[in-house]
């Protein structure tokens, strides 16, 4: 952990060397998320509600998904840019160092400019918490925290899966965007609005709904079933197959030799 802190400090320092570029990047991240937010705003000002969810309730969803994504992307960036780590031989160097591989990949990149997205998520969340009509209680606060943790776990695992697939092929991995960037975009709205099949897919295959739709129902008081509250805990299980796939990939790895 102390070593990770050292890495963090180094990344912070090096990114602060290019202050203008850092600021512009962060502002850009903010704007990209903002253009999604503003389209949600206009959709609701035209249509009023969607599938029994109001604007403020959807914002709660939007904020949590965006926040989980921003945090994952900031700290798991090393996995997101893993193809270049393999192709430039950096991974060989990682293998020979006396520290855990996952740890080193984690520490190899920390992209703090993602703070632009995070800021937006925090602002929207602060706005949505009192206005969403949720009757807050200690249990509900815990639910909210669980949603966030579950979200971070799922998005991070998706980045790990993406990196693990790089061991098998580097062609055509663009499709993973459906789940990473797509998860963020689709997760703007409760996943139930896309229909039953999609909801099932995002429950059992890529468990986005476990930290988003189901606990949201509990938050909004539409169910008292504690299973819905603890659904994000099940989404943590997703990290297991992701990690196994990663291990399998590492085992198979042969250097490009450059």
């Amino acid at each position: 952990m102390t070593l990770y802190m050292k890495y963090l400090a180094i990344h912070l320092k090096s990114q602060m060397q290019y202050k203008v570029s850092f600021t512009l990047n962060a502002v850009g991240q903010f704007l990209i998320a903002f253009s999604v937010f503003i389209s949600v705003f206009f959709m609701f000002s035209r249509f009023g509600s969607v599938a029994d969810f109001t604007y403020n309730q959807v914002l709660l969803c939007f904020a949590i998904v965006l926040m989980a994504f921003a945090i994952s992307e900031c700290f798991f960036r090393g996995f997101d840019t893993f193809p270049s780590t393999i192709s430039n031989g950096e991974f060989d160097r990682i293998m020979v160092r006396p520290r855990g591989i996952v740890f080193q990949v984690l520490a190899s990149k920390i992209d703090l400019s993602r703070i632009g997205r995070l800021v937006q998520a925090v602002v929207v969340l602060i706005y949505a918490i009192p206005t969403s009509g949720v009757v807050w209680s200690p249990l509900k606060v815990i639910t909210l925290v669980l949603m966030l943790l579950g979200g971070i776990a799922v998005f991070s695992s998706l980045f790990v899966v993406y990196a693990a697939l790089c061991f098998f092929t580097i062609e055509g991995l663009e499709f993973m965007n459906i789940f990473t960037d797509g998860g963020r975009e689709f997760g703007t709205y409760p996943l139930s609005i896309y229909g039953k099949e999609i909801l099932k897919f995002f429950t059992f295959v890529v468990p986005l709904a476990l930290f988003q739709y189901f606990p949201l129902l509990y938050l909004l008081g539409r169910t008292d079933n504690l299973l819905y509250m603890f659904a994000p805990l099940f989404s943590l299980l997703f990290s297991l197959p992701a990690y196994l796939l990663w291990r399998l990939g590492v085992k198979r790895y042969t250097s490009t030799g450059s």
Binding site: G28, S35, S39, F47, F175, I178, G182, E185, I193
Partner: protein, 267 residues
């Protein structure tokens, strides 16, 4: 002309080589389109009267957008050009007996065309055979198809002309990152890439439709389904042409300015 044509061909054929990426891209764009349409379907069920266009017009809009994403997406930029400007290698390009603006324009055109050619047909085919209301409708008449193709081509040219301005800005700023990220986020929204522009309030729509960005995604995709028709159609096509001219002139002017004061850095 012949020189540019051969550059075009090289780039185009080069682009066609990335087939695995194209398959993955198709899967992504198909998923994206499907989810978008489902989202709009949920909204239209909640309040059918608030829909600014027929649902099949909207579905056609989304599918065409996904199929021709490579025509309009501002984030499809040629990194080589940025790198040439930043590293100073652009000096070599200037030695060639070619007009740099035309050369880059042609290269970008070829890059976008090759990407779209690989991806659009399977997406369009699946979109046409999907069950209602998710499916894309056929064009209303041969004439409307031709008008759509004209508008689509103009939209592509406007997008490339806009990207040229982005490239040339790098001569002045040297760091492409900032301008790039701003442009991507703004243009995506303003061109109707995130939600179709008619979904916005009418007063705002009036202004946005006049901007060059609306001439990219918004105009051709609405021409297809007949959502823009009659005198409005003539006006929109004229506007596309106008913005194309303005952006090309602006790009050329900026380039001239940049090249008179270009400093090639180091050995």
């Amino acid at each position: 002309m012949k020189k540019y044509l051969s550059f075009f061909t090289i780039r185009f054929l080069n682009g066609l080589q990335y087939r695995a990426a194209a398959v993955a891209g198709m899967a992504t764009q198909f998923a994206w389109g499907y989810m978008r349409i489902k989202m709009f379907l949920a909204f239209s069920k909640a309040n059918p009267a608030a829909m600014p266009m027929e649902f099949d017009q909207l579905a056609s809009y989304i599918w065409l957008q996904q199929a021709f994403l490579a025509f309009f997406a501002v984030w499809i930029l040629d990194n080589e050009i940025f790198e040439e400007i930043r590293s100073g290698n652009v000096a070599y390009e200037l030695c060639r007996p070619l007009d740099l603006y035309n050369l880059w324009f042609v290269k970008n055109l070829a890059m976008r065309l090759s990407r779209a050619v690989l991806r659009c047909f399977p997406i369009l085919f699946i979109a046409l055979v999907l069950p209602k209301p998710l499916s894309m409708s056929l064009p209303q008449s041969p004439a409307s198809l031709i008008l759509f193709l004209i508008s689509l081509a103009l939209g592509l040219f406007v997008s490339v002309a806009f990207c040229m301005v982005l490239y040339i800005t790098t001569f002045f700023t040297l760091s492409p990152a900032g301008v790039r990220v701003m442009a991507i986020s703004l243009v995506d929204f303003l061109s109707g890439g995130i939600i179709p522009l008619p979904m916005l309030p009418e007063k705002l729509l009036f202004f946005l439709e006049l901007l060059p960005f609306a001439s990219m995604t918004n105009t051709p995709l609405r021409v297809y389904s007949g959502h823009i028709a009659g005198t409005e159609l003539a006006f929109s096509l004229g506007l596309q042409l106008l913005w194309l001219t303005v952006l090309v002139l602006l790009g050329r002017f900026m380039m001239k300015r940049a090249l008179t004061r270009v400093v090639v850095q180091g050995g």
